[in-house]
Amino acid sequence: MTQHVSPPRGGTDKAAPVEGPPAWRVRLGRADVRTLTLLGVLAVLVLIGGITQPDSFLDTRNLQLVLTQASVIGVVTVGMTFVIVSGGIDLSVGAIVALSSVWATTVATQEYGFFGILFTAVVVGVGCGLVNGVLIAFGQMVPFIATLAMLASARGLALQITDGRTQVVTVPGVLDLAERDSYVLGIPPLVMVFAAVTVIGWLVLNRTTFGRRTVAVGGNAEAARLAGIDVRRQRLYLYLLSGLCCGIAAFLLIALAGSGQNTNGNLYELDAIAAAIIGGTLLTGGRGHILGSVLGVLIFTTITNIFALNNLQTDVQQIAKGAIIVAAVLVQRRTASTH
């Protein structure tokens, strides 16, 4: 890895970090501590699940269910991570998922079959993202306010479309996606979509100019501007990306639930932000980890599952979630201050 890239030239320069391990190990170690901690928490949760409900929790079907449930919010969280890395926030993700899911499941849309539903879900998501992006990038609105307004309007529009009714999906191709027959090697297609979004998200953030510009804008917007980056255009793209993720998530949700409802995606924004934060993404921007966000989502979904299997109330579950968020942020503060 990176240890090969520094030839021993001019030995005096390397004299400074004598008492510490080499720089690459520090960096590797720091990244690993974060990921390992999250993996450790996940392992403990799995252990708890396995001990309390040995039969039902470790059942293949249950694990498939957990991953499927994580897929919808997971895709949303990948988009949210990009927005937060750029120093922004998107409070409207849950509402966009709701609006996309009901718009894509109206009787009129369902006539166009599988691709009609997919196309509508994605276009509605991107459309909402476009409005957010234009308001923030060119209208100079604070992301919090612009996306809060979108949250309210998109939820309202979703209610107006459905009139509060559940819109049952009758297109077989969509429903088949969540059926056991379509699993490949035991992996549900919805989970494969989630995995693909995660991999693409990781590559875009870490290996492309788009990702670099996102980090630069979030780390220091003024420096990014003076370095010749089009900060406004980048912000626009990021909210489009978040909207796109919401559209994909809405499609997954339609397949999973077999219907579209205006109450879909309730409080997704908070779950997505919380998952990103415990995954190590700085709420102030400039640093983010797609993998950490995904682990955060898996942790939350596993908790929900364990509580459900043990017939515990959701209020206890909420308290546990809150405690995990606080603990994760405190741990990160400590590792950050030991630089």
């Binding site: 030239r9 320069d13 720089a23 100019t209 780390g219 990014a224 501007r225 370095a227 640093r287």
Partner: protein
């Protein structure tokens, strides 16, 4: 009479922030009833010093004696209790509260311990405002509705509502009209007549002559002169203390012949309302042109306007004969301009990132295809650019925040080197750079020019401009007052020009 101990005596105050030693053993004595002026360029340490005095920063070392006793100013409240009030340049008033509420914020007159006696607060506020010569300000009005001058009066009333013995005023005249300044000076005179000491910060030398008793000059975090008589010290001496060199720097040789190529950067009639008057200048490839001037002369504003970071009111900028789209940094960068801004950390660097990523950020298209970054090529290019500037440590993978000031500046220069720019705009290139590292940075800048770059340099240090530039434009209050080859100028001449605006030959 018995020698009275000074009201305030700070000695050996040091304060470091990550990467910068903001105060390096500063002494300051203030007598009761005097106006003690604090002078210095941006970044000299004035703000840090008054924040230490206000209890907002804790010094790393040094002692503070107040009326002959050692004190520790743990918090702004502790300083306030002793009778030290600070009026910051950015007024710290609550806009949505009334004048009286602001004046009594935190120590409201109360009945039964918690019920605010609004009428009493208003009455005492009205009295304070009268004493300050502004009886027309209504204590019931919202502070947000007042003018800048009136807000300053409110801020002063707040200071006086405590039992105050020392008032620190940070550039109080900056936002005031001339007649308002007269009122300010009358207030200062009244205060000192009552035995209150005033620490007055300004970079307007004529003000210091008018109201100051003694002057302390700060430079690079040190007090280079303490307690000079404000009236009799020659202006030139004061300015030389502010801008002069502490050490003899070694400047690189200039080329024997001035470059003859066509100018690559042309600025025609460029101006910005309220900042600088229409300006013409040309920079040829291989040439370093310096802009010399004091704080407030429009130096940085000119560079940022040329770069498109500020939109010009009139005029245009041409690079290689092609006019730039005004107000567009991207157009400027695409045309081959690069800026190393004055505030490196706030305006140039991504402090969470590695040197590589800081260097590559403006030239990502050079080692990416379809948006996909070739990280090997990126690292190689960053390594090459940083090696060329001898950036230390010789490992672009380290985080940029771990570098010294001089090496951080080299990282910024490497960014533009990698981009392949034609014109380099340098704003205070050696600010925050250790004295020892400066000569190396000068050599780097000269070498870049020798390799065909056009350099436009801004510096508040006159010797730096004279030593490094080929040609010098002297600025005073947003206007070019003189232009000459650097070898025909010397420091006293430039100091006369920046202060008086007329060549005193």
């Amino acid at each position: 009479m018995a020698p009275e101990p000074p009201l305030l005596s700070m000695s050996g105050i040091t304060k470091s922030f990550p990467g910068v030693r903001a105060l390096d053993g500063v002494d300051l004595d203030v007598q009761a009833g005097e106006v003690h002026c604090l002078l210095g360029q941006n970044g000299a340490g004035k703000s840090t010093l008054i924040k230490v005095l206000a209890g907002a920063h804790q010094p790393d070392t040094g002692t503070i004696r107040w009326r002959g006793e050692d004190v520790t100013l743990r918090s702004p409240i502790a300083a306030m209790r002793l009778g030290i009030a600070t009026i910051y340049q950015e007024l710290d008033l609550v806009e949505h509260l009334s004048v009286a509420e602001n004046v009594h914020l935190g120590h409201e007159p109360t009945a039964a311990g918690f019920v605010v006696r609004g009428r009493a607060a208003k009455a005492s506020t009205a009295e304070l405002l009268k004493r300050l010569g502004h009886p027309e300000v209504d204590p019931g009005r919202l502070v947000g509705d007042l003018s800048a001058a009136q807000q300053q009066i409110v801020s002063m009333a707040r200071a006086l509502s405590h039992d105050v013995r020392l008032i620190v005023m940070d550039e109080p005249s900056a936002a005031l009209d001339p007649d308002e300044v007269d009122n300010l000076f009358r207030i200062v005179a009244d205060l000192t007549a009552d035995g209150v000491a005033v620490v007055y910060i300004s970079h307007r030398l004529e003000e210091i002559r008018r109201i100051g008793d003694r002057v302390t000059v700060l430079k690079d975090g040190r007090a280079v002169a303490g307690g000079l008589p404000a009236e009799s010290t020659p202006t030139r001496e004061v300015v030389a203390l502010m801008t002069g060199r502490n050490v003899e720097y070694v400047f690189p040789e200039r080329p024997a012949e001035p470059p003859a190529a066509e100018p690559v950067l042309k600025v025609e009639g460029l101006s910005r309302q309220g900042e600088f008057a229409p300006l013409d200048l040309e920079v040829r490839p291989g040439e370093i042109v310096g802009l010399a001037g004091l704080v407030g002369s429009g130096r940085s504003e000119i560079l940022e306007t040329v770069y498109g970071a500020r939109k010009a009111t009139t005029g245009r900028v041409l690079v290689g004969g092609q006019p730039l789209r005004p107000g567009s940094v991207r157009a400027a960068v695409r045309a081959g301009l690069g800026l190393a801004p004055e505030e490196r950390k706030a305006q140039a660097l991504l402090m969470l990132e590695s040197v590589t990523r800081n260097v590559s950020v403006s030239a990502m298209s050079r080692f990416s295809r379809g948006g996909w970054i070739d990280r090997g090529a990126e690292l190689g290019a960053a390594r090459e650019a940083t090696r060329e500037l001898s950036l230390r440590p010789d490992n672009p993978a380290v985080p940029v925040r771990t570098l010294s000031g001089g090496n951080q500046q080299k990282a910024v220069l490497a960014r533009w080197l990698l981009r392949g720019c034609r014109v380099l705009l340098l704003d205070e290139p050696t600010r925050g750079v250790d004295v020892g590292a400066r000569a190396e940075l000068y050599a780097v800048i000269r070498r870049l020019a020798d390799e065909g770059l056009a350099v436009l340099l801004v510096s508040s240090e006159v010797p730096e401009v004279l030593g490094l530039a080929d040609r010098v434009l002297v600025l005073r209050e947003g206007r070019v007052v003189h232009e000459a080859p650097a070898r025909e100028l010397d420091e006293p001449r430039v100091l006369d020009l920046v202060m008086e605006g007329s060549p005193a030959s």
